[in-house]
């Protein structure tokens, strides 16, 4: 089963869930309606023909006006993967959590929240993962500017040149 078949199976199972099958220039993926991400993921995991039982990774992307969550699921049974993207607006980047569908998403979502500021609605423990809790900003956003000071520690270096 290739991505076209996963796509058509999903369109049957979750009407309106898949917005687009992207074939290029980026690697093939399904663009999923952010409002229906939970339905799509549940269907991917539980449908007998799909059985995506493993979330390989989840991360965020800064796409300018939009922020994007990238999902990649794997079916060990059928030896196939599927990649998905869900876009949310930059001003209000909120999307439902899938951490109860695949537990590994728990930390992946925390990381994406930490570094890109995407908020995962319904996440049980959405705290920063890598950076200190009082850190300001989300460093993997393209408009991020390094702070000059953090807790009275000077972040600049005078190299005398």
């Amino acid at each position: 089963m290739n991505i076209e078949e996963v796509d058509s199976r999903l369109r049957e199972g979750v009407p309106g869930g898949v917005l687009e099958l992207h074939k290029g220039p980026y690697s093939p993926h399904l663009v999923v309606d952010a409002e229906k991400i939970r339905e799509v993921c549940l269907f991917l995991r539980d449908d007998g023909a799909l059985r995506f039982d493993y979330l390989t990774h989840l991360t965020g992307l800064d796409c300018g006006e939009l922020l994007c969550t990238v999902y990649r699921a794997l079916s060990l049974l059928h030896k196939r993967t599927v990649a998905m993207r869900a876009y949310v607006p930059r001003e209000d980047p909120v999307i439902d959590t899938i951490s109860d569908i695949w537990a590994s998403a728990g930390w992946f979502e925390r990381e994406a929240y930490d570094l890109l500021g995407i908020r995962y609605r319904g996440h049980a423990d959405l705290r920063r993962l890598l950076l200190p809790e009082d850190w300001e900003g989300h460093p993997l956003r393209k408009d991020y500017v390094d702070p000059l000071r953090y807790q009275d520690i000077d972040n600049t270096r005078d190299y005398g040149i």
Binding site: Y26, Y54, L55, T56, A103, W107, L140
Partner: protein, 373 residues
């Protein structure tokens, strides 16, 4: 008699760990010796490697991949090279593929040696650690001879490998695997069959198949839970499709499954399989082909994205690269095995004794820089 009232105590474990896993910190609540909850606090070794990946050129980023997981830098180099080669459609000469497989598997052996040695040391057995490190030093000697570095190799380059094997190097590798093959039974005699070691690990830190899959555990930890999955066989890369090797999984053949002991034994068995692979590479080495690298001046892939997974000693090492058509990546994402392995501790720890929590963490073989990147 009235039941004795007890209170939960909050304990801070770390932010260092008396072993070689890197800087880890756990916030425990415990009732006496029994852990009620365990919150791993990671990020102490966050070096912004993903952000640096957006600032450096593709070629310039290679030495940073060494630092993602410095216990198996060769495998990290290799995983990154695979991703960029797929993105920019760069061919790799056959000679380089063999050299990559040899150093990759040697690095798997040396990484597992560290894992096994520290696992034993975390449980209080000091002797196996220097024994394991002595063998690892010999692998480091081989690496030093081929690329000049013992830890952060920067050896696998985009389009091939940095240097060809010097004269006599392949014979030295063969001498090493011949002697190391005899070391494995000795290592087993020293620790694998030890009764105290059994009692500390058998049935401790049980991660069943369902939990392992849900938490995205990968590599030897996943296979210890009875899941037959190895990227080298299932999503093959390099010359692995030409090589014959077994994939040890927890269950009947090993006699142990799901627990810390299974994760230990799997790694011992994987070292044997790596020896098999190295031996095959040496036997079939393409001496007639001289090129070890496709010469490239500039890597400028077209707009696109790629995710390439490789089987590192600590599980799935995946590079997700988004290209905007320039010499620098738009996004450089690294998915590592230790990250997901660490996240499962939160789930498994409640109900363990504090000492067993140490056994759990040791048996998962987490390396902190790989979690934080």
């Amino acid at each position: 008699m009235k039941a004795l009232r007890t209170e939960d105590m909050t304990l801070n474990m770390g932010p260092h760990h008396p072993s070689t896993h890197g800087v880890l910190r756990f916030i425990l609540t415990s009732d006496g010796e029994v852990v009620h909850s365990c919150r791993p606090d990671v990020g102490y070794l966050h070096r912004s490697i993903e952000k640096i990946g957006e600032i450096m050129t593709y070629i310039g980023f290679m030495p940073y991949t060494d630092r993602v997981d410095y216990v198996c830098a060769m495998n990290a180099n290799w995983g990154y090279a695979l991703a960029v080669e797929k993105l920019a459609k760069i061919e790799v000469p056959r000679r380089a593929e063999f050299l990559r497989a040899i150093v990759g598997e040697l690095n798997r052996i040396s990484s597992h040696l560290v894992a096994l040695g520290t696992m034993a040391m975390d449980l209080g057995a000091i002797t196996p650690f220097p024994w394991a490190l002595r063998e690892r030093e010999r692998v480091n000697d081989l690496f030093e001879e081929i690329c000049g570095a013992r830890l952060t190799h920067n050896y696998v380059w985009i389009g091939g490998v940095a240097f060809d094997a010097p004269d006599g190097w392949l014979e030295k590798v063969r001498r090493f695997i011949d002697s190391f093959e005899k070391m494995i039974p000795e290592f087993n005699r020293l620790i694998t069959g030890n009764k105290i070691f059994h009692e500390r690990l058998v049935g401790v830190g049980v991660i069943d198949r369902k939990t392992a899959l849900a938490y995205g555990i990968s590599g030897p930890n996943l296979r210890a839970s009875g899941v037959d999955w190895d990227i080298r066989r299932d999503i093959p890369y390099g010359i692995y499709p030409e090589l014959a090797f077994d994939i040890p999984i927890g269950g009947d053949a090993l006699g142990c499954i799901d627990d810390g002991y299974a994760r230990f034994v799997i790694r011992v068995r994987e070292m044997e399989e790596s020896l098999k692979i190295v031996r095959q590479c040496l036997d079939r080495f393409p001496h007639e082909e001289k090129e070890h690298r496709t010469r490239i001046r500039k890597v400028k892939p077209p707009v696109g994205s790629v995710y390439v997974a490789s089987e590192a000693p600590r599980g799935e090492l995946g590079f997700f690269i988004v290209s905007n058509g320039t010499e620098k990546a738009e996004r450089m994402r690294i998915r590592t095995g230790s990250f997901t392995a660490m996240s499962v501790v939160e789930k498994i720890a409640p109900g363990l004794m504090v000492a067993d929590l140490v056994a759990l963490i040791a048996s998962l073989d987490v390396v902190a820089p790989e979690i934080d990147r």
